[in-house]
Symmetry: C2
Subunit: 241 residues, 2 copies
């Protein structure tokens, strides 16, 4: 169901009724006004506007992955006519944010029966942690896992373990390049034990680490173990079947 060079009334009808079926796509020359936590306006230009059935509004341009202006799911989005122009207005309540799209000309309007499906993603940090729990020897020989996602006063410890000498080992996992933030995070956890006078080691497990982060790591007496998430997943799948 779509219309080239639609009349304004047709456009309003398609946007308001077609949206429920899935996704509405509108292309035309428009101004966009955003006002909420911040504020911005887009001068007249041809843009791709998407309205989804969950209230999502996206205003895309010819570059970049992110929409220039948007309102997230749960927004109240609808079309109407004002001063002879098509207007799409979207309002989000908390925090309050409003987006209005004023069309001066319409190239195209269409509603599509697009659906939503489940995505099973493999390789997220959670998967990496799970894999390491199953194969802690990949971090260090003789490591015994004591806990996963252990809550502390200053955040969650990804993996808590004991080494062969019975020392606490805090393991912080990053699926890609670790920055100094990860080091400070790890340092906070290790500090909890060291303050209590207990011997504790900290190991940062990541696919790589920035030079600055590595320096801090050494300074704090922490360790780095390089683990490639892809290879890790592969080796685990091989082992486990």
């Amino acid at each position: 169901m779509f219309v080239q060079n639609p009349s304004i009334d047709e456009a309003v009808r398609i946007i308001n009724s077609g949206r429920k079926r899935g996704v509405v796509v509108v292309v035309g020359i428009c101004e966009v006004v955003y006002s909420g936590r911040a504020a911005a306006t887009l001068k007249p230009g041809r843009r791709l506007v998407i309205v989804k059935r969950d209230g999502t509004l996206l205003v895309h341009e010819a570059e970049k992955a992110q929409p220039k202006i948007w309102n997230p799911p749960g927004s109240s989005t609808a079309a109407y006519v004002e001063g002879g122009r098509l207007v799409i207005k979207s309002v989000r309540s908390r925090p309050f944010e409003s987006v209005r799209v004023y069309f001066s000309s319409l190239d195209f309007v269409a509603a599509f029966d697009v659906e939503t499906s489940e995505l099973e993603l493999v390789g997220s940090e959670k998967d990496v942690v799970e894999a390491l729990v199953k194969a802690p020897w990949l971090i260090e020989e003789g490591l015994e896992v004591v806990g996963v996602e252990v809550p502390t006063d200053v955040g969650h410890i990804d993996i808590l373990a004991r080494d062969r000498e019975g020392r606490h080992v805090v393991v912080e996992v990053k699926r890609d390049v670790a920055t100094h933030d990860a080091v400070f995070q790890l340092a906070r956890y290790v500090e909890l034990y060291r303050k209590r006078g207990e011997r504790a080691r900290g190991i940062l497990v990541a696919s790589d680490i920035t030079a600055a982060a590595l320096e801090y790591l050494r300074r704090y007496g922490l360790e780095f173990v390089k683990v490639n998430p892809r290879e890790l997943m592969a080796s685990i799948n091989k082992k486990v079947g």
Copy 2:
């Protein structure tokens, strides 16, 4: 330039040539395979696929603001025919990631002369910092700004100042609710001075703060000043004109 129920050859032509002009929109039943740092597949379903002239590939469904699958700007994205089916393939080099969209049926293909424009956003953290630099008394009476975005070993200090007693004051600014992360960040900066034996205070400026963050703040001997970004911007505009 658009075609309903296009032939596969038409679709390939429109996608590969029309993309350069701006944005190509394809709707049809497709399977999607993503493989890279992580991996995922989408079972056959009707989806909205967008190809941008900068190589961006977006696979959208009927809900959520984010695409289910995507490849960012700079990817090599192109269409071709394989086994009688339209395939859109997108490859990103570093890190390597590949997305392939296999269409079993096509509802719609179109290329639009969408452009890109400049967005002037008002109310970002940078704006808040600038406003506070102009009106430091809103943080504390008698505060003298010494530096902005001051680089340190552990990150950039938003605002560096001196109080009436000549003490260093590190100001960390968050435009919305500050979490414990902001506190730890601030603590890192203040620690730099305190370690050197210099007296230093730390002030977290934000529109609000979580209970947990406030507790850490007190524990570290740091302070919180509530500043509403919108009111701040308004008051500054009034003052400055």
